[in-house]
């Protein structure tokens, strides 16, 4: 669209001056702003006041919102169709359409009203942000509604499955879940938060953690008020760092620091260090003879004792000092002194040790040969009656053998011993029984079994019932209610391997297997403390003690773990 604009100005002497210019564009803009095609300043003229566009037989006029113009000194309008002869009046400035010369689509005369107030002149400029599209009230409402809709209403009312995660109730999560929980329930908040505006109940926890044990058994649990404590009181989700187990000592010492003596008689523990943690009590096993049938059997009972009075009653004769003395015992392979790990093999849990057995740990040195003329024969281990029967069978065969009485040419006679010792002229079975009785007495009371075992000799004519070996059971766990990482302690300050073992377990000075080679609390507190310092390694209650006991010991008032508490009570009562 090409428009001829003829500007008419009056000179001071009343003459009219004309200045022509061309407009070439789609829309001719009129307004107070300097970027308009025709700038008109005056009262009520806004920055972009009106627009002229081409129509079929003239021009179309369209005013901006709130703006109006006067056409042909008539009523004010906001839209009009203009043709030649029409005049537009905007605040005294006039635009008149006249016949367009050749080559133009339209032609206008423009008479600018120069009689303008200074204030109107100022109003022609946009000098305040309020005059722009910026606003406060409208964005405030929109933002408020958006926050409430996206943050509350949509996650609340729309089904979760129909929403992307960033619009679901996952938005309400105040922090990350424990990875295990995250894997188990995903982002399903309602797996735990069953009812709105109600705290998570224990039933939601135990629906998965069905085997979890309580800290104590009833009625103690209720008496001390633990039954009313919610799981979530200690296990808080949605926190950072992601850690659901409270490790602070206060969890324990709040109650155990000053135990309620009306409910139980636990020793007070206010932390870990000298004087604040009681001495250790060890869990031992004691074999008690119990009458059964015509004889008796041994029943193993738990017994807990403080270390200074503890006596190991495993019924095994094993002096550690002898076995660790290189002059007396050597490793068969290397010829050097035995190491701790020759017998004690750490279990995969790094706390306990593999069970020591005769077959695996003792037999390579302690064979069970009983007849030097039959060096390949060994007695069976573990059953005294079987031992007697084996010997009887052996001697019966020996006396039945016609060559049995002949001296062994390969062997030399021992000084002071008759080569005729095994000669017998009685019937074979009499000879065998006599010889068996001799050897059984030898094995059970002088050398052989009695070397390692306690043997009870009964006044019985029946050889099978005469000797009873007291059964052996090595204590598998001296501190049932405490955990300990042996591997972590295999390297200590200035010692590693066996030397580290001996720092705590004084095995080389132990002359009897009745010694309990367990260290007391002061051994631990020489390196550990419940507070952080440069000299000591921090150690918290839960590093050794579990709040939820193993299911095996939970709820058993006579269980072994329980016995430690009973022993503590006893000491405290004294």
């Amino acid at each position: 669209m090409q428009i001829l604009i003829r500007e008419v100005t009056k000179t001071s002497d009343g003459r009219s001056e004309f200045r022509d210019r061309e407009f070439d564009g789609d829309a001719l803009t009129i307004g107070a702003a300097p970027d308009q095609s025709i700038q008109v300043i005056g009262h009520g003229v806004i920055g972009h006041h009106a627009t002229l566009t081409k129509s079929r037989d003239g021009l179309n006029l369209r005013c901006e919102r709130g703006a109006k113009v006067q056409i042909d000194e008539d009523a004010e309008v906001s839209r009009a169709r203009l043709s030649v002869g029409n005049t537009i009046d905007i605040a005294g400035s006039r635009l008149t359409l006249f016949d367009a010369p050749a080559g133009f689509d339209a032609a206008l005369t423009l008479e600018i009203n120069t009689d303008v107030e200074a204030s109107d002149f100022e109003a022609a400029f946009v000098t305040d942000l309020e005059q722009t599209w910026l606003g406060k009230r409208s964005p405030a409402w929109w933002l408020t509604l958006a926050v409430i809709a996206l943050g509350l209403l949509i996650p609340w009312y729309l089904p979760r499955d129909s929403l992307p995660e960033f619009m679901s109730d996952a938005l309400w999560s105040s922090g990350p879940l424990l990875p295990a929980h995250s894997v188990a329930i995903g982002n399903d908040c309602r797996a735990c938060h069953k009812e709105p505006f109600r705290r998570v109940r224990d039933t939601e926890c135990v629906s998965c953690h069905a085997s979890m044990t309580d800290h104590a058994s009833e009625p103690l649990l209720s008496e001390v008020g633990l039954a009313e404590i919610r799981c979530a009181a200690c296990h808080k989700e949605h926190n950072e760092p992601i850690h659901m187990t409270i490790t602070a000592d206060a969890l324990c010492t709040d109650c155990h620091g000053e135990p309620d003596w009306s409910h139980n008689q636990l020793a007070a523990v206010s932390g870990f260090g000298p004087m604040v943690h009681p001495s250790f009590a060890v869990d031992l096993l004691v074999a008690e003879p119990v009458a059964r049938g015509t004889g008796f059997v041994y029943d193993w009972k738990p017994q807990t004792s403080f270390l200074d009075e503890a006596v190991d009653q495993s019924n095994l004769k094993y002096p550690h000092d002898v076995h660790l003395d290189v002059d007396k015992v050597q490793n068969l392979s290397t010829g050097e002194a035995l190491d701790c790990h020759d017998c004690h093999t750490l279990s995969p849990d790094d706390e306990h040790f593999e069970t020591i057995t005769m077959e695996r740990h003792c037999r390579s040195c302690h064979d069970l040969k009983f007849d030097r003329r039959a060096p390949d024969r060994e007695l069976p281990h573990g059953d005294p009656a079987e031992v007697v029967l084996t010997m009887e069978g052996h001697y019966t065969r020996m006396y039945a053998d016609p060559n049995a009485g002949k001296p062994d040419r390969d062997r030399r006679r021992l000084p002071g011993r008759s080569v005729d010792r095994d000669r017998c002229t009685d019937p074979i079975h009499i000879c065998a029984q006599r010889r068996t009785a001799q050897e059984a007495e030898n094995q059970f009371t002088k050398r052989g079994c009695v070397t390692c075992h306690e043997v009870t000799v009964h006044d019985s004519d029946d050889l099978l019932a005469r000797y009873q070996v007291v059964p052996v059971r090595l204590t598998p766990d001296f501190f049932v209610v405490a955990d300990f990482d042996h591997r972590a302690h295999l390297t200590q300050e200035g010692a590693s391997g066996d030397a580290a073992c001996r720092l705590c377990h004084g095995a080389e000075e132990s002359t009897s297997s009745q010694d309990v080679l367990m260290p007391d609390v002061d051994q631990c507190t020489s390196c550990h403390s419940d507070h952080r310092s440069n000299q000591l390694i921090p150690l918290h209650c839960v590093d050794c003690h579990a709040f939820h006991p193993d299911a095996h010991y939970a709820g058993t008032s006579t269980g072994r773990g329980r016995s430690a508490i009973v022993a503590t009570q006893r000491r405290q009562a004294e």
């Binding site: 200074a118 942000l129 926050v147």
Partner: protein, 289 residues
């Protein structure tokens, strides 16, 4: 007045700020070791409630400022309290959440609050600096007087231009018409000059800071054909230079005033959003308790 905003009644609200922050920190430090600090401990609840009440109190300042008839304290006192307690709010809210953040409605409330506080701090900076600079820039006049002066210069310039040749007439009259002050939001805030002018030879050209038209007229003086035209051109040049000086002041004035108000376009709407997000934060916390 603006200095007094911070020094109001001998730093009264600074002490309020200090006490709030110190008590908040002590409360935070009292967290037991049984649980990491978070918004769900009793200390967290106290800090959160305190911060929420403070948000409501601070938002009320918006209403108090418009209620000039109120006798409940002075506007200046409220504003001073608003600034100091607004900064204290950031400490309280951060202690409340123990700096645990995530993509959730709770951090949304915190982020919006931070936006409000930051925009407010910028507002304080402008209130403390810009009025003084605006006064210096206006050299004793107000904005309307500057526009009135510009208007007069425009008239004089146009009259003089009409006595000159057509090329000067076109250039000067178009430069007066196409003079820009303010305009779009960026133009107001940066003082950018979008002025243009037209020449018979080359059509429309940029006329930033009126330099081009002044250059055009001054270069035309030696080529004047009549002595009288030289005199007109010299007068015209003087007027164009005076226009240039006033336009510079006006643009600077618009720029200062723009920044004095711009932060409010963030501060006010985001405050509303913060109050909404706070409500959502509280409700959703207890929906999934």
């Amino acid at each position: 007045m603006f200095d007094n905003l911070l020094r109001f009644r001998n730093f009264r609200y600074f002490w309020w700020f200090l006490v709030t922050v110190v008590v908040g920190c002590l409360l935070y430090a009292s967290h037991s070791s049984t649980e990491p600090p978070n918004g769900g401990t009793w200390q967290g609840y106290v800090l959160g409630t305190w911060a929420a009440l403070l948000i409501v109190l601070l938002a009320l300042l918006g209403f108090r400022k418009r209620s000039y008839r109120s006798r409940l304290g002075t506007t200046q006192g409220w504003t001073s309290a608003h600034v100091y307690l607004g900064i204290a709010l950031w400490f309280l809210a951060t202690l409340h959440c123990a700096a645990q953040f995530g993509w959730n409605v709770h951090t949304l409330a915190y982020a919006l609050m931070c936006l409000v506080i930051l925009s407010g701090l910028f507002g304080v900076y402008t209130y403390l600096n810009y009025p003084r600079r605006m006064t210096a820039n206006r050299t004793g006049s107000n904005r309307s007087e500057l526009f009135a002066e510009l208007y007069e210069l425009n008239r004089e310039g146009a009259d003089l231009a009409r006595h000159c040749a057509a090329d000067i007439q076109t250039a000067v009259l178009s430069s007066i018409e196409r003079t820009a002050v303010g305009g779009s939001i960026p133009a107001q805030l940066t003082g950018r000059d979008g002025s243009r002018f037209e020449t018979l030879e080359n059509g429309a050209k940029r006329n930033t800071d009126q330099e081009a038209v002044i250059e055009y007229v001054s270069s035309r003086i030696p080529k004047a054909e009549k002595r009288a035209e030289v005199a007109y051109l010299q007068d015209l040049l003087a007027i164009l230079c005076r226009r240039q000086a006033i336009l510079r002041r006006l643009r600077q004035d618009v720029r200062f005033q723009g920044w004095l108000k711009a932060w409010l376009y963030v501060h006010v709407p985001v405050t509303a959003a913060t109050v909404a997000a706070l409500a959502v934060h509280i409700v959703t916390t207890f929906i999934y308790w």
